[in-house]
């Protein structure tokens, strides 16, 4: 934010905002902190190992573009942003930027807790490279935008974290940068302020400024950016139209999700399990169609297969299954007895093995993490008693590429808009 080159001489639309040519950044990892000192004063270095946080990055971002950068944690997104803003210098290659950069890597960096909001605005503006006149000219706008009311005159230490962020955002975006870099900063604040932020970003884009947006929330990236850069292990894996890259990202997220889930499924003994034990339920396999998976899309076919082994003779056992969201919300539960056409198993003999299948034609839930609890109950008595009740028998994840609906449930829907005495518009999903 100390780049004082103004965009006026760089050329309006059509110029390049950011160019990276083979940019890479290596950090040195030392086993002992003292090695760093020896590297400074003694010959025979460098000691320690190199770690390439980012390598071989080629970017050519035109002015006025809105570009999203996605990738999982540790993919090098933050390092790339630091390189682009000039906070650190690339180890290899070069990076060129045209125009004043404002980064929202951290909102309110440099706020002093003892001072009032007003004083902190002044200092923060000066940290961000604004002159005294610029600060005065925009001061009231910043105060208004932050909506802090009388809190603006109280010490920042009395602010809630939301207020802190509001003030930081107001200052950072009023610098009037040519390039704005945002690092998932918008995920905080209440809905009202979030809306204001998005409005401001839209104004920004409309006035032909360049925006870089980093997130791993596919939904917001797709809604805001036309061009997406996918990073993986420090490299740019793919860049191009948002739709294409986003699909690639989801595919990868699925593969990775499956790895993680199956690891989680192997170690489920940590959760409560109780019952008389005549039947022991074993692995719960999940399928989408014919494919075994732990990652589903909303609306995809879902099948759960509960494997079991009979340890003692047993009358009228009933298998059931409950689906819970990771926050504990009970999403759905059923068993094969309490149905219009119940399955009645008179008896199971010791030593038998088998499996019970439950399927949903299409899984009507939206993005999130879910877990499954398996029930095996004895229904030979008036009140069913547990044979094997096993919580967290399996976990799965729902990944949503489209983000067309929000909340918990995927509902078939139909929209109609009617202008009285005029047109009628219709959308069937």
């Amino acid at each position: 934010m100390y780049e004082k080159t103004r965009s006026s001489d760089v050329g309006a639309m059509g110029g390049t905002a950011i160019v990276a040519r083979g940019a890479g950044k290596a950090y040195r990892i030392y086993d002992k902190p003292s090695q760093r000192l020896w590297d400074l004063v003694l010959p025979g270095g460098p000691r320690g190992r190199e770690f390439w946080a980012v390598r071989d990055v080629y970017l050519d971002i035109p002015q006025g573009a809105t570009v999203g950068i996605i990738g999982e944690n540790g993919a090098g997104k933050s390092t790339l942003l630091k390189l682009l803003t000039g906070i650190t210098k690339p180890t290899t290659g070069e990076i060129e930027t045209n125009g004043r950069i404002a980064s929202l890597l951290e909102l309110g960096a440099g706020f002093h807790p003892e001072f009032s909001g007003r004083e902190n605005i002044r200092l923060n503006c000066s940290i961000l490279g604004m002159s005294a006149e610029e600060t005065e000219a925009r001061f009231q706008e910043i105060v208004d935008f932050s909506e802090l009311g009388e809190f603006i005159d109280r010490p920042v230490k009395t602010y809630s974290s939301g207020m802190h962020i509001r003030l930081g955002f107001s200052v950072a975006t009023s610098v009037d940068p040519d390039i704005l870099i945002i690092d998932e900063a918008l995920s905080v604040g209440d809905e009202h302020f979030k809306g204001k932020c998005i409005n401001r970003l839209n104004e920004f884009q409309e006035s032909g400024k360049t925006t870089l947006f980093v997130s791993h929330d596919m939904g917001s990236i797709k809604s805001m950016c036309k061009h997406v850069v996918l990073m993986h292990e420090g490299r740019v894996l793919e860049q191009g139209a948002a739709e294409d890259v986003a699909d690639e990202y989801l595919k990868r997220a699925k593969v990775r999700g499956n790895d993680k889930m199956s690891a989680a499924n192997r170690s489920t003994d940590a959760y409560p399990r109780w019952g008389s034990g005549e039947i022991r339920t074993e692995e719960v396999e999940l399928f989408s169609g014919d494919e075994r998976t732990n990652v589903f899309e909303p609306g995809a076919p879902f099948q759960a297969r509960i494997h079991f082994e009979v340890l003692e003779d047993c009358k009228q056992p009933v298998f059931g299954l409950g689906v819970y969201r990771s926050d504990g919300t009970y999403v759905n539960g059923s068993n094969h007895c309490w149905r219009k056409s119940p399955i009645d198993i008179p008896t199971l003999k010791k030593g038998h093995k088998g499996y019970a299948d439950l399927s949903f034609g299409s899984l009507p839930i939206l993005q999130g993490h879910y877990y499954i609890t398996v029930f095996c109950y004895d229904h030979s008595k008036p009140a069913p008693t547990p044979i094997d009740h096993r919580e967290h028998a399996a976990v799965f994840q729902v990944l949503d590429a489209d983000h067309r609906q929000h909340g918990v449930l995927l509902l078939p829907s139909r929209w109609e808009v009617t202008v009285r005495g005029g047109e009628q518009y219709l959308s069937e999903e």
């Binding site: 934010m1 902190p33 760093r36 980064s103 960096a109 440099g110 002093h112 001072f115 200092l123 000066s126």
Partner: protein, 285 residues
């Protein structure tokens, strides 16, 4: 060094903002406010006077009144506090402001500079108060006959305030250069070796007691440690401050020249080291 100076000049408004915020931050919420700039050295003085002059009965010259001795100590304490506070804060200043260096494009050269600037301004606030006491001491010379008798022999005129005081601002500038050089070096070096901030605390304490602030220099010379005074720039500086403020003596050319050279060399080395390493700061934090 040149690029760093350019940086400071380009960021002068930021530097001023930081200094003024830091000065206000010291006393924000405290009821005595800026008086602490004066109270602090005076309390310090009281403690050292008690230990050195009353308990240990350190002998200064028989030709010096107790008030003169106390004022010589006070001048030393005020100057030393600014020096030592600058260095102990500067050593950790980059770490304390890591979020500015890691998250914002920020001219890191500002940070050690504002610490030193703030300490010097704080010192400059205390000096006029010391000056008032000095004028009082000059107008009310001692009446102790034994002091007067030996003063007549040695030609000691007691506390004298006069034109030599005019060189104090120049001395502050020189002290600033010397302190800045060390501050830049320590701030950058601390990123390579984080023990620096602990070492500096101990080193400053040793250095303070090796510098004749609470006892007269001739004691050191008599015990055969006179060479320590010849390698201690802070001693040269103390002598100049005391001469100018308490005795109305212009600085000895030798002290002025050797302290000037020391300040220039230290400033050059410190800023050069800082400038050479600063590209790495974001990675080192």
């Amino acid at each position: 060094m040149i690029s760093l100076l350019k940086n400071l000049i380009a960021g002068r408004r930021l530097l001023l903002d930081f200094v003024s915020r830091d000065l206000r931050a010291r006393y924000v919420g405290s009821s005595l406010g800026f008086f602490w700039s004066v109270i602090y050295p005076v309390m310090n003085l009281a403690v050292y006077v008690f230990v050195f002059n009353i308990v240990l009965k350190t002998t200064w010259g028989p030709d010096q009144s107790p008030l003169e001795v106390v004022l010589l100590m006070l001048v030393g304490i005020v100057a030393w506090s600014a020096f030592s506070e600058s260095l102990s804060r500067a050593a950790n200043i980059l770490v304390d402001n890591a979020n500015l260096i890691e998250k914002v494009v920020f001219p890191s050269a500002i940070l050690p500079a504002f610490v030193v600037g703030s300490a010097l301004v704080n010192m400059a606030i205390a000096i006029p108060v010391v000056g008032l006491v000095l004028v009082y001491a000059m107008l009310n010379p001692t009446t102790d006959p034994s002091v007067l008798a030996s003063a007549a022999e040695t030609g000691n005129l007691g506390v004298q305030v006069g034109l030599a005081t005019l060189c104090v601002p120049a001395l502050i500038v020189l002290q600033g250069l010397f302190t800045l050089g060390l501050a830049y070096f320590l701030a950058a070096f601390n990123l390579f070796w984080r023990d620096t901030m602990h070492v500096i605390g101990v080193a400053l304490m040793v250095w303070m007691f090796l510098t004749p602030i609470f006892y007269p220099p001739y004691h050191v010379v008599q015990k055969g440690f006179g060479w320590t005074l010849d390698v201690n720039p802070m001693h040269w500086l103390m002598e100049m401050y005391r001469g100018a403020m308490v005795k109305n003596l212009w600085p000895e050319p030798i002290d002025l020249v050797r302290f000037g050279i020391a300040a220039a060399v230290v400033f050059f080395l410190g800023t050069t080291f800082f400038a050479a390493q600063r590209k790495k700061f974001a990675d080192l934090l």
